[in-house]
Point group: C2
Chain length 454, copies 2
């Protein structure tokens, strides 16, 4: 391990770097960034303007530049790649681990990607061609080809020699995987156990034959689930013939967990497929406008519903005052219930096996919340309009609305999951709008019946 | 490593286990669960009724029972602990790693905790007394005391001997930490590098002196941030005198990342401090009711605002039809912007240094969204009421409302972060309600001005 210092990227440092870059002071800048860790340097670069970024980037050795580049957030990374020529990118790709190289080349426009693959040399292009066909969100799409595997009938000494051969190639090593003559995965041994065994001991005697692995086409969410559940540091990836082909390490798993949480959170907020750090107006519009427009037309339906009760509204204009209360209460309740179920389904804390129990819990809570909020609103309406009978009707309406919203909010994500849709859609405009429409229908419907009866 | 099998917990297996438990068939059940991994067994137990859980739990050896117990979700775990006697818990605690033992004892009622600490024996009670004082969400609160440290002037052979001594105690080992004579942390060496060096090599010659560490009182979110940023598998924890006192491993970090995401997501949905899997009605009410009631009174303010425009509403009753559209558009826009900023601040993808740029991005997007939605709504209103001038006014109102909501939604989380509040509060009832009130004010205000002018 090289001795890099860890530093904090603050306003002062950014100013200093900007000044050096703007002055074109290579020496000063080089001295400043020379012993910085790649992750810190990436952080720093994200805070600079495009020309400053490029200036600092060109000071780095190809190997170092690659390590920094993969740590930079996607929109900035794309911009830098656009500004670098193919030769520079080729040198960077040659120095990267296979998984990072494949990610980088995979994100390039097709013609650039092809040219880079032609330039990188046989070994690297072979790796790229192995990895690029796998979809991004599968085990194959996130695995690296750098791992240490030994045959079952070799000795501890042979295994250590294999590690030595791969010392540079496999940077972080925690497990040695064991394969048979066909390359099929048959066992695992931790580095800790390996170092404590006599060097002439046979691997097959000390390995654990119950090794947890995933297939190349396993969904990355499932991979993350397994690694988390069994507290693994790395998981081997096998082909359909059970031959060992790659490995996925803990840092990739953390990326998957964050990415999936980002996706869930964004989708719940009605944002489709937006990178958190995205700054392009067009991409943001594409991510957010569709659901706004869907919501707009949904709420125009709500307007049509209200218009059906025009005569009641004319009789008591104050009924319109409480439309926001009705909407907000139904909306919040539905969102609370849906969010918990969506998140629970994503993390596995709530499972499909427990649907009945969960719905029962949500119904109880919604009923209690409805009773309390209903009584409060009923008192306010009764006092305000000096009509406690109408207050009672509004209270009753709110109980029904909150109960209904709680039920819809928790049931829809389960239904979506069963139908193999993303449950996060359940907190979107569909549920929100149907809650609004049903809420208004219950509220104005009950009040209208009351007005006709009295 | 023992050879446990990995199995899927499905309805069929659950039924079989339930039948054995209900029949009191110890032999059959023991055979079924004997070679299951702790995490799978925990999964299975979560699906059983309380008496069945206890029956299966009492079949396990104390060591195995502890490994299973720590994998079980909190509400179920609490219930099981309530049903076990102090002797059983004492035996379980004795077999756990120090961090798990402290978590378990820390969650018990005070008097039970005290009795367990008296029973577990000096070594374990000493560890508990070291760990229990640290707040749950700090490095001290999540660290374990099991680690391998060697002095800088020892040899590789000595280091391997130390690992051998701690073989059982330190289950997963990736780094050896190096300390000076006072116990202060001075370096780190990976197990991989250690196994490749000649056994007589001095540790000080091969260690990396730039070791990343955290203090006992570092916030767990900061710990997770460092581990993720620098792709570490474990991070050493030091006291304020820089003496090495514990270690935090990747699996704990994944738990922190999930926990923080759970918290953010729940808070954004207006749910305060609810465990995702929580099923107690009272706890759920406490988590959800406060914000519903806050929202209720906020929206009663909105009702007061609408009542001020009673004469406009009386003139054109149809104005009330569009209140849901106005509210939903402002609400969704604010929520989209706030969610992205809150999540970005939590993951570090958006930083306080970039506030200006982010606000500018959000303003551009809100303006575009507002224009498009405004034109659509204006056309609908114009056509419906056969009054295209009024349609134009409503369109203008919606542009302003969406622009304003986008600005509030993105600015409030930044402001909260600067003031050291949790930005996730920014998607709560405060922003939602102020967006509703401002939206209605803009809408009815503009329309009223128009009605007076014409």
């Amino acid at each position: 391990m090289a001795a890099f210092k860890t530093i904090t990227i603050d306003g002062k440092l950014i100013e200093e770097v900007k000044r050096f870059a703007d002055q074109g002071n290579r020496q000063g800048l080089k001295k400043l960034i020379d012993d910085m860790r790649a992750a810190d340097l990436a952080d720093l670069i994200e805070h600079l303007d495009p020309e400053e970024r490029l200036f600092i980037f060109k000071l780095l050795e190809p190997d170092g530049a690659g390590d920094v580049l993969v740590e930079i957030e996607t929109p900035v990374q794309e911009r830098i790649l656009k500004d670098l020529d193919n030769q520079a990118i080729t040198e960077i790709v040659q120095g990267l681990d296979s998984d990072d190289a494949a990610d980088l080349v995979g994100d390039l426009p097709d013609d650039r990607a092809r040219e880079i693959i032609e330039r990188v040399g046989d070994e690297v292009s072979g790796e790229l061609e192995k990895l690029l066909p796998y979809p991004e969100d599968t085990a194959g799409g996130i695995m690296a080809l750098e791992f240490v595997a030994v045959k079952a009938d070799t000795s501890v000494k042979d295994a250590i020699d294999t590690i030595r051969e791969k010392r540079e190639e496999v940077e972080n090593l925690y497990y040695i995987w064991v394969v048979d003559d066909l390359g099929k995965l048959v066992g695992v041994i931790s580095l800790k156990d390996l170092v404590l065994e006599p060097t002439d001991r046979k691997i097959s005697d000390i390995m654990n034959p119950e090794v947890i692995s995933v297939y190349v086409d396993t969904d990355q969410e499932e991979v993350a689930h397994l690694v988390t559940k069994y507290d693994l540091v790395a998981i081997p990836v096998v082909g359909n013939d059970h031959r060992l082909v790659g490995r996925i390490t803990h840092d990739d798993i953390i990326d998957v967990i964050k990415e999936e949480a980002d996706e869930d959170i964004s989708l719940m907020a009605g944002v489709i497929d937006q990178g958190i750090a995205e700054e392009s107006t067009l991409k943001l519009l594409r991510a957010r406008l569709p659901w706004l427009v869907a919501g707009l037309f949904g709420e125009i339906l709500a307007a049509v519903v209200i218009s059906q009760f025009e005569s009641s509204l004319k009789k008591i204009i104050a009924l319109s005052f409480f439309i926001p209360v009705i909407m907000a209460m139904g909306g919040s309740t539905g969102n609370q219930a849906a969010t918990i179920v969506v998140r629970g389904l994503a993390t596995g804390d709530i499972s499909l096996v427990k649907i009945g129990r969960r719905l029962w819990v949500e119904m109880r809570v919604a009923l209690m919340n409805g009773l309390i909020c209903g009584i409060l609103l009923g008192l306010v309406v009764g006092f305000w309009l000096s009509d406690y009978e109408l207050g009672l009707i509004v209270a009753l309406a709110l109980v029904l609305i909150i109960f209904n919203a709680g039920l819809i909010g928790s049931a829809v994500p389960f239904a979506l999951k069963k139908l193999n849709f993303d449950p996060a859609l359940g907190t979107g405009p569909f549920v929100a709008t149907s809650n609004d429409i049903l809420g208004i229908l219950i509220y104005l419907g009950l009040v209208t019946i009351y007005l006709r009866v009295t």
